[in-house]
Symmetry: C2
Subunit: 338 residues, 2 copies
């Protein structure tokens, strides 16, 4: 089969490799319907994360079950499934509390930018659809696997409530999904910090009420002006740099929560500053599995269309161009047809 | 009148000084019924905080109104009042959200270790009792001014819920009030980390269900063992050192909240570690004013007895001994009779 390997920063290749096989009784294998490139894939691609070379890339997936391990009870060959990028048993205490991304058996999905993939802990990770989805829903179902679920978690962690004012820091795919999530959760106002026209437009399409193009102190001043100098009730930090986190802290009102889902790179918090700001914080890898049933329902009933976040569609064979386009910010997010 | 001044680390003196007068129309002056020494007073006393010398000490207070400014409408001369150590207008947006300790007009009370004190922003800061309280309730009413309100906020910020397992890090007066608060808010289990026999006993008296005397890795292991290796649902961090914060982080289960009220000294959070721990955080100076009506009611109806936290009572003239006893950990908290 074809699979994607990262050999070195900037050097991602599609190549022939063996099809995955069941390794544990709790595994399944799937034939991918589609997969995609994640913003977090760009960290090693840009040489900002160490990795074992070559690395079999991809953690976002949906598709059809091929084989199931002997212990798997909830999915059958031939079913269409969507799963979280975080693999979980969904039975341990952390899973039962809704934090499947801290499952005691947690693994992170790998190798999904391929024609076939192995999904460990299938019963606790996958949701099977009752029937094959319409083809035009595939991008949205794929988005549920990570980027939508992650934006949703940011909004939940930030405690977005009906009528509140939310600010989304970051106009990448996760930030845009955060806009969608904040509106779905009832935010009356969603201020999006974005400098890029195409992303601003998509943010507005997803329900953003205000766009702030300024950054740094000017961006903070603009958000403060938009909120009567109070600050935001809920902040979704969807980048992960120290600059974006400082921005989030500066615009959050005392007593608000920052839901942070950008994997932190070089982020440090000073205890004293955090204390006196009275800003609440909750972040981490998103427990997508918690939200999947709801998200899939919203997609199948066409109440949301997260798939629009894919503004570039390529055949899997052209995965290298997908990385390049995202790295150069020519694309928000690249879907790979399998 | 007599008042307390800190001249240098370790050099606290009671001395004759002018009685305070009204400076703004929103001020009142009070005759103290009692005041006390706070754990946070020990930071400058120990030379760990810079301060303007001499510093007029004391921010915990209750007593009888002497004079009221022309703009004050809610309290009258002769009334017994209890107020927060954080002075607030209680009308600004942050106050209305319940974060009076981030009031746009916020000031911190000073000069309360005296016979008389000036209380700015009286209408937004003080609660007047309907009648003079019984004498034996004075210590509890005094505790509401800071230490009880701060422990209460720690429990609220940590989102203590009925049936949950809470852990209190720190067996100082605030930690002990945190035990009381966690039980009042319905925690089924309150694990207290304490090495000192007298404090352990008071913690048990306030409703602690388990005592962990170990610290560091041993303490973490003990808490994990007590929680089926899951960790705590809610953690109250009531110290403010890096060591205590690391302890709190290590025992909090993913998705839990740490309510931190110890003023951080040398505390740094690594963004990546906080992210992957999925620990929520909310701290800051306690918005005591939010809780005061409820706390005063619990005290006047004798449902709680926070005043027991004062295990040393001295005349105001002996304030230096109060500081010394607390510094040497001979006393949990020293009340000063005025």
């Amino acid at each position: 089969m074809l699979g994607t390997q990262l050999y070195a920063p900037g050097d991602v290749r599609i190549e022939e490799m063996p099809e995955p096989t069941l390794q544990k009784p709790t595994d399944v294998t799937i034939r991918l319907a589609a997969t995609c490139v994640c913003g977090s894939d760009l960290w090693p691609y840009r040489g900002l994360n160490k990795f074992e070379r070559p690395m079999h890339m991809g953690h976002e997936y949906c598709g059809t079950v091929v084989e199931v391990g002997s212990a798997v009870t909830s999915v059958k060959p031939g079913q269409f499934v969507v799963g979280s990028f975080c693999l979980s048993d969904n039975t341990c205490p952390h899973c039962r509390y809704g934090f499947q991304s801290s499952c005691v058996q947690r693994e992170f999905m790998t190798g999904a930018q391929s024609q076939f993939a192995r999904v460990p802990l299938a019963d606790g990770t996958l949701i099977a659809l009752d029937q094959q989805p319409d083809d035009d829903l595939i991008p949205s179902l794929l988005a549920a696997s990570d980027v939508l679920g992650t934006g949703w978690y940011a909004a939940v962690a930030a405690r977005v409530e009906p009528g509140c004012t939310a600010v989304v820091v970051g106009d990448g795919a996760v930030g845009l999904m955060g806009v969608l999530a904040a509106r779905q959760l009832g935010a009356a106002r969603v201020i999006t910090m974005s400098r890029h026209k195409a992303r601003q437009e998509l943010a507005l399409d997803y329900g953003a009420t205000d766009i702030v193009a300024e950054r740094g102190d000017d961006g903070v001043a603009k958000v403060k002006a938009l909120t009567d100098q109070i600050g935001a009730d809920a902040v979704l930090e969807c980048v992960g740099t120290n600059e974006s986190m400082q921005q989030a802290l500066a615009i959050a009102r005392p007593g608000s929560m920052i839901g942070y889902v950008g994997v932190p790179h070089g982020v440090q918090f000073d205890g004293g500053r955090l204390f006196y700001s009275q800003t609440g914080m909750l972040g981490g890898p998103a427990p997508v599995r918690r939200f999947l049933p709801k998200l899939i329902d919203l997609i199948l009933t066409r109440q949301i269309n997260p798939g629009k976040v894919f503004d570039l569609q390529l055949p899997l064979a052209d995965v290298a161009e997908g990385y390049k386009a995202m790295d150069e910010r020519r694309a928000i997010k690249a879907l790979l047809r399998v």
